[in-house]
């Protein structure tokens, strides 16, 4: 059973109008803010930097003091470069506690756009799980809560909708990855009242381009692209290959930047969330949002170049 479709709210109407206004020109709604390139998410009116930070594996370091310090350095560089959205989940081991540790060290709870997930097959446990996550992060409330991998999504989404109505979370959404369950995602995008969808999108995993990205855009729903580097497999695959000369046209100095620029130049994408353990990489990733982004023609060229390798 799907959640009752929402009445057309003023916010959603505005979102739809904004999306319409953006037309098909590439890239739309990009503004240069103090903190690098930002894009507005129509459904929320929120503007977010195009590159965020993931935390799967990379921040799961237990209570190892040396590794906690290393993660704190990554987050310090992330904020210094203007980053805001950090994504985590109760599924990610100690990652939420690591983020909380760094936020406290850096006194950055007011700078982060805190994105977390509800991940339980027993929805009655959802509220206590979310409260434990919030305590781990040490934030007063989450900016975004998502139903992780559509797990028991109808009831978990109902929990999130109730929280949002109470003002206990600002935005809500759903996630999937690896191209899984796109049919269900499509139904939810059409019928449910959500602000964000998180899915896998990169220069080789482009299934979302067919239906989900246009639909999200039409509905004014923000899109968070996960697994930009296929958990580094993509970078390893391309590492030995030369970057094309024309990559300089968009200031892509590395394969990582080439891939990120491809993702964030899609007009439906609000941001992507590469994970990293390295300060150099976080700088490189955030720098990808600065400077020119490819237009539709160049995007096609980028994709076919990678395909040809």
């Amino acid at each position: 059973m799907l959640v009752e479709p929402p009445p057309l709210s003023r916010r959603r109407l505005l979102g739809g109008l904004l999306a319409l206004a953006a037309g098909s020109a590439l890239p739309p709604l990009i503004a240069r803010g103090e903190s690098g390139e930002i894009r507005e998410v129509p459904a929320t009116g929120e503007s977010l930097p195009l590159v965020g930070l993931g935390s799967w594996i990379t921040f799961n370091v237990g209570d190892d003091p040396a590794l906690l310090e290393a993660c704190t350095a990554v987050m310090a560089a992330f904020f210094a470069e203007g980053g805001r959205m950090i994504d985590s989940s109760p599924m990610y081991g100690s990652s939420q506690a690591t983020i909380g540790h760094a936020l406290a060290e850096l006194d950055a709870t007011d700078r982060v756009y805190a994105a977390d997930k509800i991940w339980t097959s027993s929805p009655s446990e959802g509220p206590s799980q979310l409260e434990a996550s919030r305590r781990d992060w040490g934030v007063p409330r989450f900016d975004l809560l998502q139903v992780h991998n559509l797990l028991a999504w109808e009831r978990n989404l109902a929990t999130l909708q109730a929280m949002k109505a109470e003002g206990d979370v600002r935005h809500i959404g759903i996630t999937t990855s690896h191209g899984r369950r796109h049919d269900a995602i499509e139904r939810i995008l059409r019928e449910a009242d959500i602000d964000f969808v998180q899915l896998t999108y990169n220069i080789v995993d482009r299934e979302a381009e067919d239906r989900l990205l246009p639909l999200a855009r039409e509905r004014g729903i923000g899109v968070i692209a996960n697994r930009p580097f296929q958990q580094k497999r993509l970078i390893r695959r391309l590492e030995g290959e030369p970057l094309p000369d024309w990559a300089s046209e968009i200031n892509a100095r590395t394969w990582a930047q080439f891939i990120l620029k491809f993702i964030i130049s899609h007009p439906a994408v609000s941001c992507t969330i590469p994970a990293t353990t390295q300060v150099e990489h976080v700088r490189e990733n955030l720098a990808a949002a600065r400077g020119p982004l490819p237009d539709a023609e160049l995007r096609r060229r980028m994709a076919s170049y990678v395909q040809s390798l």
Partner: protein
Amino acid sequence: MPMSEWWSYHPADFLMFSLHVYERLFVLHNQALWPAQLLALTLGVGLLLALWQPRAGPLRLVVPLLATGWLFVAWAFLWQRYVPINWGIRYVVPLFVLQALLLLVLSQWRGGLVLSPQRLTPRTFGLGLVAYAVFLHPLTALLNDHGLASAEVVGLTPDPLAIATLGLAALARSARRGWALLIIPLLWCLISAATLQLLEAPGAWVPLLAAAIAVVARLMPHG
């Protein structure tokens, strides 16, 4: 999750921590416990000697010590260190406690544990496993970046503990008691081998080989 979705998963998708973080668990564990490693190694040698020339008295003493090892590792390593980075291990902790109980009960109950020293092959395999766990397994740490600081010492960490217990299980004269003692360490060795393989760690085959040797030894006649 729909059945069809399972096919879209790669085993590596279930891995939620890096090799570096995993190896650091042992470094921190060793730092926190030093110099308990010396005591554990001494007790390991005691276990080997007691199994070499099995007599009821010493055996009744060392097997409960091994049981204590299972309890200690369940608490100090699995629960305190491993569960925070790998929530699946939470479900393994009760098995370690069960193994400790099995060791305690089977070593004291109805004449205790009787080993079969006559048959050469199971004896060699069994004692070989224990000797490997005590003396050689800690040295596998030399293959990684942290060196001996990340050594896995018997009685303090799960792999050598499981391998030593497999050795004991291979030596038991009663097939029933032997198999009862073998199942949980065998399961752990499979989990450990799969984890190390996914982490692309050196020596992923070690726990697998130990498990295979124990099963083969167990299947042989014990006289």
